[in-house]
Amino acid sequence: MEWAGLYNYWIVIFLMMAGLYVVIASGNLIKKMVGLNIFQASVFLLYITMGKVQGGTAPIIEEGIRVYSNPLPHVLILTAIVVGVATTALGLAIIVRINEAFGSIEEDDLEKPEEAS
């Protein structure tokens, strides 16, 4: 039952595929952003999972505790979360402006042949 112990990684893979699928398959720009967020969240989870050490506690120096979880991936992923938030904010801002300019956020409407505005 080795695979069951790795359930975190299965969740990572499921989220990653689901997110990527939504980005590709969805025609709605907001849904695309949601998919992108799920995709990024799966990577956050991947990093957090790899920092866990079996039987380890929080990395605080205390007497009698010898095994610590690795704090570095957690710190790294804080940075990646910030990047993700910035990306989401920018993406949503562009969607708002697309909606103002085109009156739609459906990809099918945006790709209609049109004259230069």
Partner: protein, 492 residues
Amino acid sequence: MISPHLPALQIVLPLLSAPVCVLLRRSILTYAVTVAICWLTFAIAVLLLQQVLASGPISYRLGGWAPPWGIEYRVDTVNAYVLLIVSAIGAIVITAARPTVEREVGEDVQYLFYTCALLCLAGMLGVTITGDAFNLFVFLEISSLSSYVLVSLRRDRRALTAAFHYLIFGTIGATFYLIGVGLLYQATGTLNIADLAVRVAGVTDSQSVRAAFAFMVVGIAIKAAVFPVHIWLPNAYAYAPSIVSALLAATATKVAIYVLLRVFLTIFGPVFAFSTMPLGEMLVALAVVAMFVGSAVAIFQEDVKRMLAYSSVAQIGYMILGIGLATSLGLTGGILHLFNHAVIKGGLFLVMACVFYRIGSVQLVDFAGLGRRMPWTMAAFVVGGLSLIGVPLTTGFVSKWYLILGALDKGWWWLAVLILLSSLLAVIYVWRVVEVAYFRAPPEAATRLEAPVSLLVPTWVLIAANIYFGIDTRVSVGVAKRAAEALMGVGA
């Protein structure tokens, strides 16, 4: 006094002056600050390259933390060269920005344009200089996020959709890279690139290291617009403000290709990348398809800027080809083309900026008679176009010469033929523009309308560089050769 801190200043200067620009708000002031900072970073890059050539790689410890624990900035021949390219193009292109930005970007957001340009520059320089794989991701996103904003700033609603697609693709690419770094960290426990190089060698049999390799390659390939994942590029370049097209075409993809080089040759090493993994053959195949498809699609474009964008896809193919040859001769060609293409495309997109400034369009039909109406601008296009084709005495010739030498060196004469054939396709699309501009009568009542000097001078500086580096190849070839040898682990 300052000189030991040059690697940090290279990044800190543009990064910190970006918020200063937001505070200044006045368009003309922010322009002045941005230009000054860009030239300063260029000066720093020149000093760094001199230092590296004179006394070997520089390692800079940020905050005094020793690598591999702290973040290290590491400057060797390869990235000193790339730093120089990026900062030089940035400085020249941004100097030309003022007139076209006034015309193409809304008045209330012009200061944000310069802010984002500085951030973009800081990000790209950071990607190039850093010796830490995760730090590289952060800088990659700084430059990417600001370039999405730059693309969307033009007063054309198609720029918005182009920027959005660029954002989706760019983020997927960066996240793939992040997954790769995570898997590598899992296997080796380090993020420092030099340290990774040592430790990866011991675990190359591991399945997850191979997966990491695949994730990183695909991720960066998206950022570099390598052939099958290039589709964000034509729209982003075609609908971005003219200056942004010049800046991104000449620098952003080059930096991504540099990262590819680092991942292939420094982290994983040539043996793993080209022998264990069949990367060389794959890259050559993709590169050849890119060369032909990119050029062929370019021939049928009615929008000249879009045509140049597709031609970029083809030119990126040449750089990838140089990497795929997996010999130091081929790599020299690839790295040379990285430099030469920056000079060629930077110049050509600035020509587009001139044309758009005067005519308000870059559609092919509107080029009619431009040879007489804007003689200096179109002359620049002709010279740049010749260089794009690879005519002797231009830079384009030098890099294609080395690529062909690299192909022949491996005994792949068919590849040399393919390089020549694809160059002929470039003749067709360049000629289409030249024909319309010189042999078709201008519309009636058209007068002579040369672009303003502030645009023409930077354009001609880049175009003149095309000729200069086509004749005097000592600097560009010399450095590219040393860089290629260092990467392949020959000599060093």
